[in-house]
Amino acid sequence: MEFLKQSFELLEKRELAPKVNLYKVRAPQVARARKAGQFVIVRVCEGSERIPLTIADGDPVAGTVTLVVQEVGASTARMAQVKVGECFADLLGPLGAPTHVSKIGTVVCVGGGIGIAPVHPIAQAMKAAGNRVIGVLAARHSGLLFFRDEMKKACDEVRVWTDDGSDGKKGLATDAIKEIQAEVGKIDEVVAIGPVPMMKFVSKLTGELGIPTQVSLNPVMVDGTGMCGGCRVTVGGKSKFVCVDGPEFDGHQVDFDELSRRQAIYKEDERRAMERLVKEVR
């Protein structure tokens, strides 16, 4: 093992869905150390933000990590401009606590939209621990689905649900859980990752059904090492730092409404940063 300055070269990039890109980045130290559920912080270039991104896959031998990123604002749009062979300025990780993985029985791993990427390594780890893993890919429509083959490899079974019925069954992630519950009888754990409303309603349902549920949160973050507290969320009435206490929490304890409000603090600034980027690109 060496401790040298690293350069985070982009080795592969492909579009998985409109505005959703896969990035395979050289980061041998992160690839070696990372476990399911952990994330990295990327700073694309001088002047850009530090963006927290959950690791979607990794290869310790090749020394690479895979990130799946949706273009939602200036920083992620800036990321999409990086070409294969160029480098990200900075990449720090693996951050956060790994997913608690043990053999418990039947585990349902729900990925909603972009959340399919971070749920993938957790499904892999749950399966490796000897669980029966049912994957649920949920999205608004078929065009937003990706990682179908990867999830098929990671899970015992994969089910697809779309809001408009353009692929798989028509309905929401909650409908998928209800269906699985009715079929298999007992779900021992649900792991749900996706947009905040999806995680909120899945947690509400599984609370009623009495199924332990883990969610992975992606709040606004700066350093990712416990230093700033910008990522704090209320869990079970107590304030927690997602970067060091999470990113995964008991879905039945998370204050999702507060999380949504905190995620919206910088909407205006985001628009301004986007304008700056557009000007630069011209």
């Binding site: 992160v30 700066v222 507290g229 304030s239 730092f241």
Partner: protein, 478 residues
């Protein structure tokens, strides 16, 4: 290094009569709108005059007051004579980071508090810090210091975890002893609190960068984007390095657990300052990272960091910056100079007051702080009178930004991931001043051991650890 003892000069009276040289500063109104350095530093002649105020006492107590033991009379005598290169050489032989120390050390509580000139009736101590800063600035302006001697390579490899004041001071000394030093930093830029915490107007980042680059020139390697505990553990490092110094600092901000504390616009001082300083939010033309710019900013706390946050808010365009502190003016832990600067700039000090809850709008953004008045009661264990809340004294201040600056706990990354390391309340336990921990070859120092303290105490701890690490590397005795 032993302090220089020179014969007492004959012109003592004249020395005593020379007034302390005041340091020019930017106009308070103008500086409240820019991020440029506030204190402008002494010029050459003024620095020589200031050094002339040293009376060559036989027992230079000032050196005892310096956590890193700089030969203060030695460098003052050379400055007096105009030998700036020699003076800087003396200074740098014990302190490789003089531009930083000259700016952020609380000299009035350290070297200057023990200065004999200052003990004479009606006189004030030699402004040692200002002369130190002058020398560092002189070098930056192109002056050449007598080079620091570096011992031949020992072949030993040392890892320094964290590039804040303790880590940098330790790395500098270890490099001087001839060891191969690798500094591991989690952020994308080295410097720790010197770059994320202390604002540009108090410590320009170009100065920090320059002091760090002089360490690199000495052969110190700095690796950023490396979080020890996560990217690799202390055990992993032990496979590669002969000794390790852990200086990860006090980077876990405290909050007060008040209702509404997670509303938008409420920051820890760490987050607020990191956004502005490290991420450059003060300059949105060139940086994407945003910060909420409030009209009415309330800062909670009375330490140096609270002053930094309040003065930063002013520079970001706040109309009213109110600093809320639960005790009175005399108990404020901030340096006198920082409090004065903040007062001059128009920060409103609302003392004997504490927040009790935060009020927000329908979007979840803070709009007001509800406070309660405090009274000072009996002295507590630390000798300071304990503040007691006055029942029924609730009142509100409007606020669209609140910065909570009530201190920091130890950073949890290394303690949580190093089972063999003895800790107490999250802090790493060092056996003694040597910095030895419960793990062989692993030393620790600075805020991760002391709890949140000052830059110079951390530097002192770093230097002490470097000394004991050098001894350990040579003898193998733990």
């Amino acid at each position: 290094m032993a302090p220089t003892i020179a014969p007492v000069p004959k012109d003592l009276k004249k020395r005593f009569q020379t007034p302390r040289q005041e340091m020019p500063a930017q106009d308070p109104v103008a500086r409240g709108k820019n991020f440029e350095e506030v204190a402008l530093g002494l010029q050459g002649e003024a620095a020589q005059l200031e050094a002339y105020r040293c009376i060559y006492c036989k027992e230079p107590d000032c050196v005892q007051g310096c956590p890193v033991g700089i030969d203060i009379p030695g460098f003052l005598h050379e400055v007096e004579k105009g030998n700036f290169s020699e003076a800087l050489g003396i200074l740098k032989s014990t302190n490789l980071l003089p531009a930083i120390c000259g700016r952020v050390c609380p000299q009035e509580e350290q070297c200057e508090s023990l200065c004999k000139t200052g003990k004479s009736k009606g006189n004030r101590p030699v402004a040692i810090g200002r002369v130190e800063r002058f020398l560092a600035d002189w070098e930056r302006a192109g002056g050449i210091a007598k080079p620091v001697e570096i011992a031949p390579p020992t072949g030993k490899k040392v890892a320094v975890v964290g590039s804040g004041p303790a880590g940098l001071a330790c790395a500098a000394d270890l490099a001087k002893f001839g060891h191969k030093v690798t500094v591991l930093e989690a952020f994308h830029k080295p410097g720790g609190v010197l770059v994320y915490g202390i604002p540009e107007f108090r410590l320009p980042k170009a100065i920090v960068a320059q002091e760090i680059s002089s360490l690199e020139k000495m052969g110190v390697e700095i690796v950023c984007n490396f979080a020890v505990g996560l990217t690799a553990t202390i055990e992993d490092l032990q496979q590669q390095f002969d000794a390790i110094f852990v200086a990860t600092g006090a980077g876990l901000p405290y909050f007060m657990d008040l209702p509404g504390e997670n509303l938008g616009g409420i920051y820890s001082a760490n987050e607020y300052l990191t956004r502005v300083n490290l991420m450059g939010a003060f300059d949105p033309e060139h940086n994407d990272t945003p910060v909420v710019r409030g009209k009415n900013v309330v800062v909670v706390g009375g330490g140096n960091v609270a002053m930094d946050a309040a003065r930063t808010a002013l520079r970001l365009g706040a109309e009213k910056v109110r600093l809320v502190y639960r005790r009175s003016h005399d108990e404020m832990p901030a340096r006198g100079e920082e409090i004065e600067h903040a007062e001059e700039e128009g920060i409103d000090f609302t003392l004997l007051t504490t927040p009790v809850r935060y009020i927000g709008d329908e979007k979840g953004r803070v709009t007001a702080v509800e406070c309660r008045k405090m009274e000072l009661g009996e002295p507590g264990p630390d000798g300071r009178r304990k503040p007691v809340e006055v029942v029924g004294s609730e009142h509100q201040y409007p606020a669209d930004v609140v910065v909570v600056s009530i201190g920091n706990g130890p950073n949890p990354l290394v303690p949580r991931t190093t089972p063999g390391l003895e800790t107490k309340k999250g802090k790493i336990v060092a056996r003694d001043a040597s910095g030895r921990t419960s793990m062989k070859g692993v030393f620790a120092g600075g805020d991760i051991v002391l709890g949140a303290a000052t830059v110079i105490l951390a530097m002192g701890a770093g230097r002490q650890a470097a000394g004991s690490m050098h001894e350990y590397l040579q003898t193998g005795v733990w």
